[in-house]
């Protein structure tokens, strides 16, 4: 539980996060209201306010490989109640994006990360989500083949799972968007 602060690294990391976030880390005065109301705090390794402080201190490795950033469900309870109007939900997006771009895979919460990746792949190839394909690919990737499988028969019976997906006509536009921003 010791961190030696390297001023240059600290500044670089904090500046990167702040520029993506359009908000100042110094705004946070560590009241903890975000952590108090976070619905998934109980599963996190660091509370949201700790993530903010650690980011300010430049603890890049710990923050980017934390469980917290992937467990955040973006429910916005934190930002809505934040007395300082700090983008608490926003910083989780920013940290996830940095982790993703750096290829850092969360050791513990890789399923969430993989789900997002598979989801966007699905959008990229169809323009819309084909749920059956999404679930199938996700299961292959995570090897959780049988999790939730018991739901499938009834969902099929109810007509909730469509057997074939649609591709949109403007797929080339979607491809361009992905090319420009991926």
């Amino acid at each position: 539980m010791k961190t030696v602060i390297n001023e240059q690294n600290r500044r670089n990391f904090a500046a990167q996060v702040e520029s993506m976030l359009h908000d100042k880390l110094a705004k946070c005065y560590q009241c903890g209201k975000c952590s108090a109301g976070c619905p998934v705090n109980f599963e996190m390794d660091y509370t949201p306010n700790q993530i903010i402080k650690m980011t300010e201190l430049g603890m890049e490795d710990k923050v980017l490989s934390s469980k917290t950033i992937w467990l955040c469900v973006s429910c916005n309870t934190c930002s809505t109640r934040c007395p300082k109007g700090f983008e608490v939900t926003g910083i989780m997006d920013v940290l996830r994006e940095i982790a993703e771009k750096k290829g850092i895979v969360s050791k513990v919460e890789k399923e969430v990360q993989m789900f997002h990746e598979v989801f966007l792949d699905n959008v990229k190839s169809n323009g819309r989500i084909f749920e059956l394909e999404l679930v199938g690919k996700y299961k292959l990737k995570t090897r959780h083949l049988f999790r939730d499988m018991f739901l499938a028969p009834k969902m099929l019976e109810k007509g909730k799972l469509k057997m074939h997906g649609e591709k949109i006509a403007g797929l080339n536009q979607i491809a361009k968007i992905f090319k420009d921003f991926e």
Binding site: Q30, A36, C38, Y46
Partner: protein, 660 residues
Amino acid sequence: MARIGVFVCWCGSNIAGTVDVEKVREEAAKIPGVVSALDYKYMCSDPGQNSLRNIIKEKNLTGIVLAACSPHMHENTFRKAAAKEGLNPYFVEIANIREQVSWVHEDKERATAKAVDLMKMMVEKVKRDRPIEDVRVPLNKKALVIGGGISGIQAALDIANGGVEVLLVEKEPSIGGRMIQLDETFPTLDCSSCIMTPKMVEANQHPNIKLYTYSEVEDISGYIGNFKIKIKKKARSVVEKDCTGCGECWNACPMHKNVKSEFNVNLSERTAIYVPFPQAVPLVPVLDRSVCLHYKKGGKCQKCFDACGPKCIDFSLQDEIIEETVGAIVASTGYDLMDTSMYGEYGYGKYKDVISGLQFERLLSASGPTEGVIKRPSDGKTPQTIVFVQCVGSRDPEKGVPYCSKVCCMYTAKHAKLFAHKVHGSQSYVFYIDIRSTSKGYEEFVRGTMEQDGAIYLRGRVSKIYEDEGKLIVKGADTLSGNQVEIAADMVVLATGVIPKKGSDKLAQMLGISYDKYGFFTESHPKLRPAESSTAGIFLAGMAQGPRDIPESVVSGSAAASKILGLFSKNEYEVEGTIANVNEATCVACFYCQRVCAYNAISKKEIKDRSGKLIKVVANVNPGLCTGCGACVNACFSKSIDVKGFMDDQIYAEIKALAV
């Protein structure tokens, strides 16, 4: 022929470090009319002033220029020194080469050039100075105190004890303010009403204090020494001089249990005719006409009248307007608590057992709705676990205010302590962000609440409060252990932030004093003139200026009083002579000047000949109100107004000096 002396001050290295002072002196000596030029380490020091006086005498100077610090600092010092040598003090001009040069520039050469320019401008100005006499305003030695809380009462008593007559105006039916609502006070735990009521009674009985309760200041005009005020004495429907405060009327009132008691912060009910609390001063009831059946049902009900022994209830009484003239005013209008219903997540207003700090005071108070026994509003049961939440509304720029309300840390520690004393075996939890306990005995008091009284402090805010099976579930964080915590409480007390009293901004506008964006009155100088408002003759006290505790409020009340007694120690008040001056010969009576004047200083004056025939109407400047701001000068089409000491020819000469 002008004989000017120029004095260049080094201000130690403050000026000399950046400005070549010798060069400035040399340049000064070259200017026609300058007969003496000197530079010195500290012109404001005794030797500095002495040499200035000697040179005035020796060289028979007609004007002096100081190239030194801001006139705000030492203009008066040098004017006085000059006056001692018989020079009109307005023949002293200051070229500010510290704040405007050495402190803001780095390049010595260019800074020196600028200092020389400023000095030259002042030399040209001083050559054209005319003698100006200060204005003397007579003082009406009577004071008005607006607001009868602890700071207002303190101010009134101190002024009255100094032998000056005081009018104390209070909006509510009784004086006492917020302090009389409190139970025991931190950090000594002396009972608030026990120490407050003697002061209230003293104020009521003081021969120099005239008390106007249930009254409001409705209009103010005039200026220091001569404020004309109108006080609206709202119809009480009770003849004060005859009332004995026996209580027969309110016991007879059929409207009991219908109106929420303001004094008990909605925790109990009152009748239509009522005194807010038993120790009220004066102990004379007020009839609330907005709820009284007599007024609502066309005069049918008169139970109070029938019950009244001395027959002092008079339904026909009307509001009364009282006009007075006073020389000085204290604005001590106090504070309100923020409305916390905007915190949907805390459920204030939705859950009966989520209450404010002031409501908890009333639950603790022996004169409160539960006679000092702590009972939950929902079911009257005594709570065993209370969660206190600090900083509700305070330090919250999103939903509340960004400032710290200053008193909540202490009163919450007091609440937790008193709860432990009153309910044995109980437990309190306090959510805080930082503990601010900086006055004498405060830190020890808070530590005692934790160490002796067993309150558990958690560092963090609360995010949500909800009801579940008769308990209030408080979801908070303890950032020290890094945990989200849930506590099942019987009651929750929100340490609600303070805001200025509703309507204090309107009063400030009426008084012509400035206030900040929250509505707190602002001081003339935050450090050095904390008791003065921005307007001469109006002083400030108490929470109307910003969050403060009881001792600070008392001190501020006394400070305002001492300022007024100081002011009243003379018979006249001196106003600087640099005010607007109308050339009556050229004035065309368009009165644009009157429109732009922010101080109501311009009136119409009729000029008549010997037989009394009207010759013309001209603008007239009231010297007591004019601040010399110069707005009228710009507005005047016929160029008939000038501000003394800032005449057009002087300004042009300054500009020309710069051009050379």
